[in-house]
């Protein structure tokens, strides 16, 4: 699937899809989107989720920043800011170890976009947050941060 998507991104997509543009069934953007990584998103433990996402356990990278509150009173909305200083970072993924489904988001960047994102998570309980960066050379890097949650956000 990844292969197919890359091919579409590289070119030819406009030509392939142009006859369909008039149809409301197929928007060009929607058609281009990568297929949802079901094995990784439905994995129920952090180790399974990391494995399914293709991130082997490695040492902590200093070039990934995670800004998050140390203590969050409301687990239904926890702001985190992530960025990478690793050259040619192509994607950032966020995992919460103790969430029922640990993989929260996987974001791919291309063109002029910086490897940076600010987003809001639901956290079930106090947990470690891991951010995995993938670089153009195919390597994965990981950093983490622990967040205390006073009121869990999954039943909220």
């Amino acid at each position: 699937m990844q292969e197919l998507r890359r091919t579409w991104l590289k070119g030819g997509s406009a030509m392939l899809l142009s006859p369909l543009l008039g149809s409301s069934l197929l928007l060009p953007q929607a058609a281009r989107a990568a297929e949802w990584n079901r094995p990784a998103f439905t994995a129920r433990t952090i180790n399974e989720a990391l494995k399914a996402y293709g991130a082997p356990a490695t040492g902590e990278a200093r070039d990934i920043q995670i800004t998050a509150p140390e203590i969050s009173e409301n687990g239904a909305k926890v702001d985190i800011e992530i960025s990478s200083n690793l050259a040619n970072t192509r994607s950032l993924a966020v995992f919460a170890d103790k969430n029922p489904l640990p993989l929260c988001a996987a974001l791919d960047f291309s063109g002029p976009v910086l490897p940076y994102a600010k987003l809001q998570l639901k956290l079930a309980e106090s947990t470690r947050i891991r951010v995995v960066a993938k670089t153009a050379d195919g390597k994965t890097h990981v950093a983490w941060r622990d967040i205390k949650v006073t009121l869990g956000g999954c039943g909220a």
């Binding site: 949802w36 998103f41 929260c104 974001l107 791919d108 002029p112 976009v113 910086l114």
Partner: protein
Amino acid sequence: MAEQIKIRALLQGEIADIRILMQHPMETGQRRNEQGQLLPSHFIQNFTVNLNGKPIIDGQLNTSIAKNPLFTFRSRGIKAGDKLSVAWTDNLGEKRQDEVTVG
């Protein structure tokens, strides 16, 4: 019908902040209603951000993203007059797409 996606680009010198608000319940599938029945999961799975028709961000999300997902991204090379569009698809096949012109 899903609500409009709010897209805003803040130009600050070379780097622009792109703020995107996708209004969506992001139901986890773990909450129960008053009768004790589980509410089925309903969440955005994919979204794509395009700059002048070219994809620049491709996101995949889980139920653990907060209700009404709000994202900030950063990009170089965005100028007034550029077109930014965002499209999402959720797990029930609902879609929404909106576009703004950077002012």
